[in-house]
Amino acid sequence: MKLVTAIIKPFKLDDVKDALRTLGVAGMTVSEVQGFGRQRGHTEVYRGTEYTVDFVPNVRIEILADDEDAPEVARVIVEAARTDKIGDGKVWLVPVDDVTRIRTGEMGHDAL
């Protein structure tokens, strides 16, 4: 079992979600994050004082997937989230020992 984690631009969430649905992904968990990287932040000005905000708003997507599906899931995300602009984000895989569906107690593949 793998946990596919992706950091993408907020306005790309819809496309990614739809792409994953088409792929047959049953579920995902999303959260708001702030990103720091090559893409610069922006400057704000309050009463003549400049503030540099280094962070850019991003969205984190987490998807539990079977080992064999995980790479495909990652590939689909990369495709759907791509704008070819600096700041598009990252996708990575983390090994997962074990998943349980709280409602049923099912484990592994059945828990997805």
Binding site: F11, Q34, H42, E50, Y51, T52, V53, D54
Partner: protein, 425 residues
């Protein structure tokens, strides 16, 4: 000069001024959080620019001595000269129209109308107009569109006023005028990226309801203040205003339920505003019961009207056309039916009160004249600005939002990151 009337008109001026921030919050709550400051700024800026232009020339163009044909006033009151003290008489305000308040009280009261009228347009062009373009637009629009229309309808020397078209507090001058101008600008500037497919849910309905409360409160000054005195007519206008808002809220919510949905808070707010718009031309010319009917009709009709934009694919973002244009026309024409001389001797009798079709015809004329002038001139104005400095922000700016790109500000910093910013760049 009557001190009671003066007190009422001064208070009314204050109340109408307060409506522009109210409008800003009403609209601001409906946009996404990345555009709220852009919206607030477009409205507050009107309080600045419009006021100064009013003093310099626009009041005079609207209420100064007619240059002929009832088309526009001269510049005799430019810089608000000759208006200090209580002595001076404004052209046309004689006999039954004689003012019992200091001229500057009238100047201030009318100014607040000029401030909010262009501000109404901001709802239609939300989320995509360059601030510099907006600033330029407001200044020019005030002079070439607002001033003449106000002169035609409000000034006793105006050609529509003289023909007996009735507009108690701005159905044509304010609402139809702004509403059709909004449509013109929308047609030039185009749709928001992602509309209508993408979700653009309001970012703070409590803010919108705050705006609604302030608008309702201020509208008493807007309509009842237009009696220009603290008297039975003002009382009638006040209760009419309130009843129309109330009935319109119920009408709007009823349609929502009938169409199988929920009664929404945004619907209650929108309905109330629709009723306030529709009753504006009628407030001092109709009876209480008529006001309820007019309000209820506005609630139903405006709800249906705002669905048009999906049919015709114009992105009137916050429904200025559906509420102000349609509501303004509705009110102005219904006045042709419900006007009642028993309420206001200076008014007329509408179709249902034995006055025949005469008034309705005059109302149609006033509506048509306002529609044609405002739409045409505004459309050309928008085209001209678009061709020169450009009306619209870039796609990237639109995606990032007006707040950061136009004003270098963030509306909210609710999280408590130490690093929501660092001094210097």
């Amino acid at each position: 000069m009557d001190s009671g009337n003066t007190a009422w008109v001064l208070v009314s001026a204050a109340l109408v001024l307060f409506m522009t921030p109210g409008l800003a919050f009403f609209y601001g709550g409906m946009v996404r959080s990345k555009n709220v400051l852009g919206m607030l700024m477009q409205n507050f800026f009107c309080m600045g620019l419009v006021s100064v232009l009013w003093a310099v020339a626009v009041f005079s163009l609207a209420f100064g001595k007619d240059v002929g044909g009832g088309l526009v006033g001269d510049l005799g009151f430019g810089g608000l000269r000759h208006l200090t003290g209580a002595a001076v008489t404004l052209p046309g305000y004689v006999g039954v129209f004689a003012l019992s308040v200091p001229p500057l009280a009238f100047v201030a009261f009318q100014l607040m109308f000029a401030v909010i009228t262009p501000a109404l347009i901001t709802g239609a062009i939300a989320d995509r107009m360059k601030f510099s373009a907006w600033a330029l637009f407001v200044g020019l629009w005030l002079v070439v569109v607002y001033a003449p229309v106000a002169h035609w309808v409000f000034s006793p020397q105006g050609w529509l006023f003289k023909r007996g078209a009735l507009d108690f507090a701005g159905g044509t001058v304010v609402h139809i005028n702004a509403g059709v101008a909004a449509l013109a600008v929308v047609l030039v500037i185009g749709r928001r990226r992602g509309w209508p497919g993408e979700g653009m849910a309001p970012h703070s309905l409590p803010l919108t309801l705050l705006g609604t409360g302030i608008l309702w409160f201020g509208w008493f000054g807007f309509n009842a203040g237009s009696a220009l005195g603290a008297n039975a007519l003002a009382a009638q206008a006040l209760i009419n205003t309130h009843m129309a808002a109330a009935a319109a809220m119920l009408g709007w919510l009823l349609v929502e339920r009938v169409k199988g949905g929920h009664a929404t808070t945004l619907g209650a707010a929108s309905g109330a505003v629709a009723g306030l718009v529709a009753v504006t031309p009628c407030a001092g010319f109709v009876g209480t019961f008529s006001a309820i009917v007019i309000g209820f009709a506005a609630g139903v009709v405006c709800f249906l009207a705002i669905q048009m934009k999906f049919r015709f694919r114009y992105d009137d973002a916050l429904d200025v056309v559906g509420v102000h244009l349609v509501g303004g026309i509705l009110g102005s024409l219904l006045l042709g039916l419900f006007a009642d001389k028993a309420v206001n001797g200076l008014g007329a009798d509408g179709l249902l009160f034995g006055g025949g079709l005469a008034l309705l015809g005059k109302q149609l004329l006033a509506v048509a004249a306002t529609l044609v002038w405002s739409f045409t001139v505004t459309f050309l104005l928008a085209k001209a600005i678009d061709a020169t400095i450009g009306l619209r922000v870039t796609p990237d700016q639109e995606a990032e939002g007006l707040d950061v790109t136009q004003h270098a500000e963030a509306a909210y910093a609710l999280g408590d990151f130490g690093s929501m910013g660092r001094l210097g760049s």
